[in-house]
């Protein structure tokens, strides 16, 4: 615990981070979103912290939480290291509903790309600076963000037809230095091949 206190003192001084009291069993630090990127960079590279594994990015919706006043959403980062004395910690950022943006850390950890896409998909939190923010788990025609507390669990949405991944593939090729000269043709299904109950976009 002494190591946690030391680390907390450094983080408090540098980034204005406070200890989150909701986590009574581990070590969670609450930080403002302006300092988030710098804090994560520090945690990854500095010798006293060296958190090289980003385990998870969790989105939380506090709508209806008993005795809670504060911004509606929270994004929590779960970190781990095998080298430094403090082995695990979490970083929490509170995000309000009206200004639902958080700086992206996809340039620090390779896995943050997909995990931030998932938080965007389920909660609608936009990650600024993310290279390719689109849905991960729900289908392309899904409207809404299902894990929010005001999205009814039984509200089903049909998908009319699967999307071609060609635009994304071309973006990937371009990021590797290829230039697209002629695109492939996308063949859409006939009208009667769309699923009943779905809407054609």
């Amino acid at each position: 615990m002494a190591d946690c206190e030391k680390l907390l003192a450094i983080l408090e001084e540098k980034f204005g981070a406070k200890r989150d009291l909701a986590d009574k069993w581990g070590f969670t630090v609450l930080v403002e979103r302006e300092n988030l990127h710098a804090l994560m960079l520090f945690l990854r590279d500095d010798q006293s912290a060296k958190f090289d594994v980003l385990l998870d990015i969790v989105g939380v919706d506090y709508l209806g939480f008993k005795d809670y006043e504060g911004p509606r959403f929270a994004v929590e980062y779960v970190l781990k290291t095998m080298k430094a004395p403090v082995r695990r910690m979490r970083v929490k950022v509170l995000v309000s509903e009206t200004d639902c943006k958080v700086p992206s850390i996809a340039d620090l950890y390779a896995i943050a790309n997909w995990q931030e896409r998932e938080v965007f998909d389920q909660y609608g939190v936009v990650f600024e600076g993310h290279p390719d923010l689109r849905r991960l788990l729900n289908h392309a025609e899904f409207e809404g963000h299902p894990l929010r507390k005001d999205y009814p669990a039984h509200k089903r949405q049909w998908l009319s037809t699967n999307d071609y991944l060609l635009p994304e593939l071309e973006a990937r090729l371009e990021s590797k230095g290829y230039k697209i000269v002629a695109r492939s043709k996308e063949v859409m299904p006939n009208d009667d091949e769309y699923l009943e109950g779905s809407r054609k976009v």
Partner: protein, 211 residues
């Protein structure tokens, strides 16, 4: 001719028997496995509960070469158009088995993303309950499917297919009959008229000669 084409007889029922015997004892499954039921299906195909003893020797992972579409696992809305397309790519005769609770009714995933049963998308022949169903349940389902296939009739299926043609043939035959009757009536009336004319002429001649 049409009556003969519709009724089953000893030849067609023997043909039915042989065709269905061949089909039911060589059901090649296409395991459309998505979730846990697929693992239980893998157990069914391995040595302990051997699936090949009922004719499904090896699983064909392509719809073009398989008979039974075995949907094992949850189908989500993202997956649904693909399931439909795969079903349409299968050649007849084809059957569908919905394996497990998730494929039959959505299971206990009553959520925004799961299809509540694949019969919202494709027609299903046999439903297997269980989460996941035991290999013995799976065999029971295959046996029920075999019984269903046994009761199929080639002539009935053929009658379904050719129903339109038979209707057309019937209509055409009726039309021809009508035309023939009309022609006969015409001919008869013509004949009657000629005879009457002949009689009249004869009467006139007789009268002429009398005078």
């Amino acid at each position: 001719m049409t009556a003969l084409a519709e009724k089953a007889n000893i030849i067609t029922s023997s043909l039915d028997f042989i065709v269905n015997w061949g089909r039911k004892n060589s059901l090649w499954p296409f395991p459309y496995g998505t979730a846990c039921c697929a693992i239980e299906f893998m157990s069914t195909e391995t040595a302990r509960y051997d699936l090949s003893r009922i004719g499904s020797e090896y699983v064909r992972f392509t719809p073009r070469q398989s008979d039974v579409l075995l949907v094992a696992g949850t189908i989500t809305y993202k997956q649904a158009p693909i399931l439909k397309r795969i079903y349409e790519q299968m050649a007849e005769p084809r059957w569908v088995i919905a394996m497990g609770a998730c494929a039959s009714s959505g299971g206990f995933y009553d959520a925004y993303c799961t299809v509540p049963g694949i019969d919202h998308i494709i027609p299903v022949d046999v439903y297997i309950g269980g989460c996941p169903p035991r290999p013995e349940s799976f065999f029971d389902a295959m046996f029920q499917l075999q019984e269903k296939i046994q009761d199929e009739s080639y002539m009935k299926a053929r009658a379904e297919r050719v129903k339109e043609q038979l209707e057309m043939i019937k209509a055409k035959t009726a039309e021809c009959k009508e035309n023939a009757e009309k022609a006969v009536k015409n001919a008869v009336s013509c004949g009657v008229q000629t005879i009457k004319e002949g009689k009249d002429n004869l009467m006139k001649k007789v009268a002429f000669w009398k005078e």
